[in-house]
Symmetry: C2
């Protein structure tokens, strides 16, 4: 089956007037395309958008460019680990170079970017060998150089091995600042157990809370993959002051895809911040097979990475099929402007919900049901 | 300016093959059209859809038909109140009759359906005269008859006057069961203060919690209008066991419309229930004028009512311009099936968030910020 390249391309078949109407309602009118003709690449689809904010009297615009990178595996999953990793590093280096040329300040990879998404196989070996220290593993070291060289914050979702605490494995995003220092890490809060796909074969629910990383390019946070289904996860990053929340993901399938455009975007709206949804692309084949009946892939990762703004506008997606870099120029002042306009934080009644949820988690909780 | 009738109509200009691709990703593949040719009406757009669930061994299908009604004002806002109300009652009676013919079990109106949406004017008179007792005001009495006659649960969002507690006014949804009895009421939890539109001129944040009404046609709840911007509001209805949450609304404008398709749908996904988003249609003119600079309307209410399912599928919307009735046949078994499939409730970690939010509302709360 040939995979659809993108529904955005289909919508371009409509007349310009019709496109404008559809776009205004589907995607909001809050973004413009930016010219990146000087950073075209043969290897990556490159798309650039800009979200504008109003001028203020007391604050200068806080302009930040984020880069969302989606990629296929460059080598078969059966290649030796060192070779696969080297090939991914080469690809990453190229992508970061392109993003730097596009003046990106913050770069984020897809989930578990430095390995095949092998968790569908339920095999431990060789996949657990990819797990490494968040603070000084090879992937972090590799990226620290690039972050410093390009003056770029890099968000690097990897498989973490915590040697200090008994060799436990985690699904972790490492945040490296623009001086090449590890600012900190966040461990995936919500772990999927969907059908015969159970990531808790490999790692459990994260224990790092909802950290927001203060960088020179804004306060950023990372909601890893399945955490996008949980509004409370998004909410706590907002409560802690995030202005940009990245959602590095790896998701496939007809059941997941209609949710993709909804969840990260709803989070941007509800929490008055920017969200950056990044998904893998391509089909990753595991020749030994897994599951019942035996199959050799987890489905097509449909890419479609996009950025949503606090005002509910969103960019078109990258393709469903190709490596791509999405550059979005954000004026972070928009976050507070939207808070002031819609007032969602002011009207949120967190005290009510702190109390309701505290009651709801008790074993003797009685739901508020009105019966005749 | 001529208002666009609907983006769904624009998308029909694409080839059938393209429509199928776009539809699958934009709206999900979970619904089918149902034939309502025997209930066509000259007064209302009528659309019918069906969401399917799998057969189970221990539970019979639990098939329920809901009707979402969006309407314009039949008379000018300057007509005497009694005449306006009578005209709205006539319209409502017709709509309920059509919905009954379409075998609807639960019928829901738009927000403050029995009056103009006059809260933009900030005038108290004559608009507060529309406020009435939820339990035995004229609107409730009028609908009790119809509910009984048609064996239909009716959700009636009105302006409530609470005479027992000092004549206070509330934005309230009354739930009348299919025997014509008032099952209970819910008061709007979150109140907008957007630009020069401040509903707290009329009524304050609701004090009825998040009730779920147990009816013969499923457990239903009502998230009134601006409450749709608050994921926690949606969440608590889910925690209390809602299977269908109605969102009667009155919303206008370019800034609101890109949010419309996202929020109620995200709620359906995150909470594994059906959501029914209902918006007013048309432009309501208040000849005396209000605001600064003086204007005479609050903008075009863009209708576009729709139903979203727990699996993230949604129906197309009713028009942006016309009175309409959307009939959706739901198998409520889908809610639990989706919970079992995606596991969002199981992986929700409510205990973590009860604790995080309890900390976050304290005055001495320190956000979790990682600084260098």
């Amino acid at each position: 089956m040939t995979e659809l390249q993108s529904i955005d391309n289909i919508l371009k078949k409509l007349s310009l007037a019709d496109q404008e109407q559809v776009n205004k309602i589907l995607y909001g009118c809050g973004y413009k395309t930016i010219d990146l003709s000087d950073v075209q690449s043969e290897d990556f689809e490159i798309a650039g958008y800009e979200f504008l904010a109003n001028a203020e009297q007391l604050r200068c615009p806080r302009i930040v460019r984020v880069a969302a990178f989606q990629n296929k595996l460059p080598l078969p999953t059966s290649a030796p680990i060192l070779e696969q990793r080297a090939a991914l590093y080469d690809l990453a280096k190229d992508a970061i170079k392109v993003a730097a040329k596009a003046k990106a300040n913050v770069f984020c990879f897809q989930e578990a970017w430095n390995m095949p998404f092998a968790f569908c196989t339920r095999e431990k070996e060789p996949w657990c060998e990819y797990a490494e220290s968040a603070e000084n593993g090879p992937t972090t070291k590799f990226l620290q150089q690039l972050a410093k060289e390009h003056n770029m914050v890099i968000v690097s979702p990897i498989l973490e091995r915590d040697q200090v605490h008994g060799d436990v494995i985690w699904n972790t995003a490492v945040v490296i600042d623009n001086h090449g220092d590890v600012l900190g890490k966040h461990r995936k809060n919500h772990i999927p157990r969907v059908g015969d796909f159970n990531e808790s074969d490999y790692y459990m629910e994260g224990n790092t809370g909802h950290p927001v990383f203060e960088t020179e390019f804004g306060n950023i946070a990372v909601n890893i993959c399945y955490g996008r289904h949980h509004p409370l996860n998004w909410l706590m990053f907002g409560v802690n002051g995030a202005e940009i929340v990245f959602n590095p993901s790896a998701t496939t399938g007809e059941l997941s895809e209609p949710l993709w455009g909804v969840e990260a975007r709803n989070a941007a709206i509800a929490n008055s911040y920017f969200s950056v949804a990044i998904n893998r692309v391509g089909t990753e084949v595991f020749p030994r097979g897994f599951g019942n009946p035996t199959h050799t892939d987890f489905g097509h990762f449909y890419g479609s990475s996009y950025v949503a703004a606090p005002n509910g506008s969103r960019t078109p997606g990258l393709s469903r099929t190709q490596n791509g870099i999405l550059i979005a120029q954000l004026d972070l002042n928009l976050c507070r402007q939207v808070k002031d306009f819609w007032g969602f934080r002011m009207t949120q009644r967190l005290d009510l919900y702190a109390s309701s949820l505290s009651a709801a988690v008790k074993h003797d909780f009685t739901p508020q049901v009105i019966r005749k």
